[in-house]
């Protein structure tokens, strides 16, 4: 069952009382960087009321921020473009899926290069590559799929840490 109080004892998400883990929360927001702080903070709070540690929530906040920044910067070409973030919360992990509305060929080329250089361990990072490298290090799994319509979907799996709050940084 999700917690309904934050660390100060203040009641948050009273509607969560009847929600049992696992559960999913889908967030859809305009393709504008200004929306991302609210989205990442929402995910952080969602995790903390779901009994994940503040450290886990902070690292997840970074993951959401970096992936959403890439999605807005490289995957939103029109004023009405939007981003979809699906959060699946399990006892032992969280899974994020971020979908954008399709980027330009140039942007997709940059993203593909970043994905390739990151998985091959090359040191030099492009702008999207830096964010992806952080996500890769903070998660157990990162998959980037670009379909035939140039829509990008990023799937991230992050497992719960042990009691000390440590996490193994993936290579």
């Amino acid at each position: 069952m999700a917690k309904t109080e934050d660390h100060n004892g203040k009641e948050i998400f009273p509607q969560c009382r009847k929600i049992s883990i696992p559960f999913s929360v889908n967030v859809r927001f305009p393709g504008d960087l200004d929306y991302i702080p609210a989205v990442r903070k929402f995910v952080s709070e969602l995790l903390q009321v779901s009994d994940f540690s503040p450290k886990f929530a902070y690292r997840s906040e970074i993951i959401v921020d970096e992936i959403c920044n890439n999605a807005v910067t490289y995957g939103c070409q029109t004023d009405d473009a939007h981003i979809e973030l699906l959060n699946k919360i399990f006892d032992d992990r969280i899974e994020f899926t971020i979908r954008d509305q399709g980027g330009t060929n140039n942007n997709l080329r940059r993203l593909k290069t970043a994905v390739k250089s990151g998985s091959s361990g090359k040191k030099k990072q492009t702008k999207p590559g830096l964010g992806l490298e952080i996500v890769r290090m903070l998660s157990e799994r990162l998959d980037v799929v670009i379909d035939e319509k140039n829509l990008t979907s990023v799937h991230v799996v992050r497992k719960r840490e042990d009691e000390r709050g440590d996490v193994t940084l993936s290579n």
């Binding site: 960087l33 702080p37 902070y58 490298e133 903070l138």
Partner: protein, 118 residues
């Protein structure tokens, strides 16, 4: 809505062209322009020795880290330095992940960073 960030400036006694900047809040893509403008105004006015106090900086993402590296490079090019003090473990972890701990001058506290100013 952009993330909240506040910068407050303080002269460092006994050191020329030196300023201590307190960063308060979150540094990310939504507020880097504001931070860039304030810090570059300072550098352009001749302050090339900067100590950034991160005691109350809760959060930095890759975009924010990018401008910290930019400040460091610019200050060095002008014969000065950009030192960071009081960094919290979450922010340090992100700097470590991108391999920038050797590129940035990081100190435990402001006194230590001040003592290292030439």
């Amino acid at each position: 809505m952009e993330s909240h960030i506040e910068l407050s400036f303080e002269d460092i006694r006994g050191k020329q062209h030196a300023t201590l900047i307190h960063f308060i809040g979150d540094l990310d893509a939504t507020n880097i322009e504001l931070v860039l403008e304030k810090v570059f105004n300072l550098i352009n006015e001749g302050t090339v020795n900067i100590i950034a106090d991160f005691k109350q900086l809760r959060y930095v993402n890759s975009t924010g880290l990018g401008i910290l590296l930019h400040f460091s490079k610019t200050a060095r090019e002008k014969g000065g330095c950009f030192k960071i003090a009081n960094i919290n473990e979450n922010v340090y972890e992100i700097i470590e992940i991108i391999g920038a701990t050797t590129l940035l001058e990081i100190y435990d506290d402001v006194d230590e960073a001040t003592a290292a100013l030439t």
